[in-house]
């Protein structure tokens, strides 16, 4: 591992985003706009308060999943990944570079959404604000890691984008946003127990309702962290130096 290469990679990924201002603007602003939309759809603070935290956990995950799956697919098909792997680049350098760049983007994204939600939309957060950013960043990184992993199974950008409904939407349906998880049929509840997004949403909800950092929150954050590490390891395994 070489921190110089990891930092250079993060800078390169940010440079790429900078040259694509429309993508960057959408990644940063769309989550906030969706929060605003949601608030007016409910037209009632209590109902918004019930769903908003889940969305704050979900949106960074979603956006980073999409951006990463397409950009790593490009890296795979354009030959730049292969080239990098003939150079002194460790796989971890690449992963860290991507993770660093995208978590920066995600922090700005969440900061905007949280600022608007707290100041204008009337959302209340009982827990510490820094913890909310930590959970959001972990969610974004989880999206990044899963996006990287699925990009190995896509040959075209069309296929990569299709992984959004295939991999992400089932998690959204099962994460407790529509029906509380403990009220689902038991096999669905078990299924939701092994999906990482459920914990992201639980952690966000916990944070907005309870003062301080309880044992539940710590457990949820640990599960997200473990899922993140697992997907990073699996994702790294798909970066192959050699082809048959």
């Amino acid at each position: 591992m070489n921190p110089v290469i990891a930092l250079a990679t993060a800078r390169r990924v940010l440079d790429q985003l900078r040259h694509d201002p429309r993508t960057l603007a959408m990644a940063l602003v769309v989550p906030t706009l969706l929060m605003v939309l949601l608030r007016f759809v409910f037209d009632e603070e209590a109902a918004f308060d019930a769903v908003a935290p889940a969305l704050l956990g979900l949106l960074p995950f979603l956006v980073m999943f999409l951006i990463t799956s397409v950009s790593t697919l490009r890296e795979r098909t354009s030959g730049t990944l292969e080239r990098l792997l003939t150079l002194p680049t460790a796989k971890l350098d690449l992963l860290l570079g991507y993770a660093l760049a995208f978590s920066l983007v995600c922090l700005v994204q969440v900061a905007l959404a949280v600022a608007v939600s707290l100041s204008w939309l009337g959302l209340d957060i009982a827990g510490p604000l820094w913890m909310l950013f930590l959970v959001a960043a972990l969610d974004a990184l989880l999206g990044t890691a899963l996006g990287l992993l699925v990009s190995a199974f896509a040959r075209t950008e069309f296929q990569a984008v299709q992984f959004m409904p295939a991999v992400v939407l089932p998690q959204v349906l099962l994460c407790g946003l529509f029906t509380p998880r403990d009220q689902m049929a038991s096999f669905l509840e078990y299924l939701s127990d092994v999906l990482p997004l459920s914990y992201a949403v639980d952690a966000m909800t916990e944070l907005t309702r309870h003062v301080g950092i309880g044992a539940d929150l710590v457990a949820q954050v640990s599960v997200i962290g473990a899922a993140l590490l697992l997907s990073l390891v699996l994702g790294a395994a798909t970066l192959r130096r050699q082809t048959a």
């Binding site: 440079d15 354009s78 730049t80 792997l85 003939t86 150079l87 002194p88 050699q242």
Partner: protein, 249 residues
């Protein structure tokens, strides 16, 4: 020898691409890999870079098995398709790869000069012409001081003047002790090489210097010489089971 290939067999998708190649690339010289498109040149170069899983035989690069991690600081590679980021400028691409390799920042100017890309340094690679993109990709391979440079058809689509200058640059790099392995399907570039590898249908037909090839085949024209080598080979190994293309005289 910078590269030593022995008994190299590569099978891909159930088809044998390389049927037992033996060759060597000496240090401090330019070795040209020539042959028609589809004959296995790229597969051989990828094997040298350690990117290709081998079915049989060995490839030794600078005393280590191809793809060894210690080699990653000493080998420059330019794949056939331009492998740079289309959404970055030329300079951003070169700076990124320079920091990955650990080349000094001043190196960016040197390779931009060699490839005559100075005027385009701040242009997004995706907005450049095909030839300019290949030059940007080649510039990356020239960064640092590689002991071995593997270039896959680096001069395709380039302006003839620039092509000439590039071959001068290759000779200069070789004179500093670097081994260059350059593939091409243009015979007039063969004359610029110190050593030639002639390939066809996954078989190495000959490894020798241009002079020795001319002398052996009794012609000054390397294109003709290559044709004679092919015919000689076919006379000795009549094609079994399949018809080969007719070779015009």
């Amino acid at each position: 020898m910078a590269v030593l290939v022995s008994g190299l067999v590569v099978r891909r998708g159930g088809r044998e691409i390389l049927h037992g190649i033996d060759c060597a690339v000496p240090e401090g010289s330019v070795t040209g890999l020539l042959g028609p498109s589809g004959c296995g040149k790229t597969t051989l170069l990828r094997s040298v870079m350690g990117l290709q899983r081998l079915t049989g035989g060995t490839v030794t690069v600078l005393g280590r098995p191809a793809g060894h991690r210690d080699l990653r600081r000493s080998i420059g590679y330019c794949p056939q398709t331009p492998s740079v980021y289309l959404d970055l400028t030329v300079l951003e691409n070169i700076r990124y790869f320079a920091s990955v390799i650990g080349a000094p920042p001043a190196d960016a100017d040197r390779v931009l000069d060699t490839l005559r890309l100075g005027a385009h340094r701040h242009q997004i690679v995706g907005s450049l012409s095909g030839g300019q993109r290949s030059r940007a990709s080649l510039a990356v391979a020239l960064l640092g001081e590689p002991k071995l440079l593997v270039l896959d058809e680096p001069t395709v689509g380039l302006d003839p003047v620039l092509r000439l200058e590039l071959w001068d640059a290759f000779a200069e790099i070789a004179a500093r002790g670097t081994a260059l392995l350059v593939s091409s399907h243009v015979m007039d570039e063969a004359a610029r090489c110190h050593e030639l590898l002639l390939m066809r249908d996954g078989i190495l037909l000959a490894q020798e210097s241009p002079d020795s090839l001319r002398a052996r085949t009794g012609t000054q024209d390397l294109e003709q010489a290559f044709l004679r080598v092919i015919r000689e080979h076919e006379a000795q190994n009549p094609p079994a089971g399949h018809t080969t293309e007719q070779i015009p005289s």
